[in-house]
Amino acid sequence: MAGLHQPGDTVLHRLPVGAKVLGLALLSLAIVLVRDVRAAPVFLAVTLLLAALARVPLRSVWRAARGVLLVAVVASVFQWWWYGAEKAVETFLDLLSLGLAALALTATTSVNEMVDALSRWARPLRVLGVDPDRVALTVALTIGALPGTIAIARETRDAARARGLDRNPRAYLSPFVIRVVARAHESGDALQARGIGD
């Protein structure tokens, strides 16, 4: 969802968001609960098929896999050490499958579709005084804030480095925190100015 959404007209694009989320939940549960090394390649094949069905570009697949890969390698090494090779292979493949399954959802679902679905699902909570649109917007903002926060982290670190202060965590942590809070205020102003949440 965080910028990974690829517009398209595949079966997965047209499926309702609810079905996709439920499908992802069930598939993820199956991947985690089925403790058999022979099942792991099958799950990986299924998720690769899903990604192909969604026409996710190879570049995105690689980017997503790279993110999971590091965690998967570290986890597998420990598994190897504690439980042996079989368990390690299963863990490695399962983690990749989970990453790909999530990618198939994010690539075929725009944030707005997700927000609409969330606000529909949150509607019953209205009796408890919860504003469904507010819930959905909060989720969207959280996702949207990630790239911006990473950019600020990079800038403040570079600024500290330019002054030769890269060994001093205070030199980049304090401006980082201050700028994130300032950004939050600006975003709040912008949302208010756009009449969102009025």
């Binding site: 690829q6 725009s110 707005n112 969207a140 949207g144 102003d189 912008a190 100015a193 009025d198």
Partner: protein, 232 residues
């Protein structure tokens, strides 16, 4: 053109332990021109003046009305009338892709998802961003990002657009592009800017210095007053 009125509107902030500081002295203005420029030094109170116009900043005393609606009491209605464009577009773009950000603006007015997408794409096309509809907002250039932020504001069809230094972060070509777009709007425009070329193209220019309006008149007179302040 709509009417914006400031009636002795002032903004003060409390200082810890030492009373308060005046950010904007009591100001009385009636704005009815199509294009109004606001110029002045950094920290002079220009942004505060701009933010008063849509209730982002509340007057500590006095009142501000837009088309006879009080910005404090009737905030939501005023914000539907007044679109606001910020200096840093990154802060106001909240969705990952361009078309989604425009859709966010349209959420309240267009309930149906497919219609909303269609309208959002039309808004992007009208502002020369059709090719970037599905691009990440972070992949755009500074000028494109400001145009996108402006598109998000215009999508709501406000009667008034207030822009707070919209070209300060932009290069010359993009300044001209964003400036042309803003000055060419049918809507009433309040443009806070350091770009005196843009200010010169307004119908009326207000100079703010040290928390008060010190000149108000034709672009030529006001700009001469401002440059006089700097050269003094």
């Amino acid at each position: 053109m709509p009417t914006i009125e400031l009636d002795a509107a002032a903004v003060r902030v409390p200082l810890p332990g030492r009373g308060e500081r005046e950010i904007l002295a009591p100001t009385t203005l009636t704005l009815t021109e199509r294009r109004i420029g606001v110029i002045g030094a950094n920290g002079s109170g220009k942004s505060t003046l701009a933010r008063l116009l849509n209730g982002l900043v509340r007057p500590s005393s006095g009142r501000v009305t837009v088309e006879d609606r009080d910005v404090v009491r009737d905030g939501a209605a005023v914000r539907r009338l007044v679109g606001f464009c910020f200096t840093d577009p990154a802060a106001q773009l909240v969705m990952p892709t361009c078309v989604e950000d425009i859709e966010l603006s349209l959420r309240r007015t267009v309930k149906d998802g497919a219609t909303r997408r269609e309208r959002a794409l039309a808004v992007l096309a009208a502002n020369g961003l059709a090719d970037h509809a599905h691009d990440s907002v972070h992949s755009l250039s500074g000028g494109q990002r400001q145009l996108l932020a402006l598109s998000g504001v215009l999508a709501l069809e406000p009667a008034i657009v207030v822009a707070d230094e919209p070209t300060t972060l932009l290069d010359r070509a993009n300044t001209r592009r964003v400036g042309d777009t803003l000055l060419g709007l049918e809507q009433q425009l309040v443009l806070v800017t350091h770009d005196l070329d843009l200010a010169a193209r307004c119908d009326r220019v207000i100079v703010v210095d040290d928390a008060r309006v010190v000149a108000d008149g034709t672009p030529a007179d006001s700009i001469a007053h401002y440059t006089g302040l700097v050269d003094r």
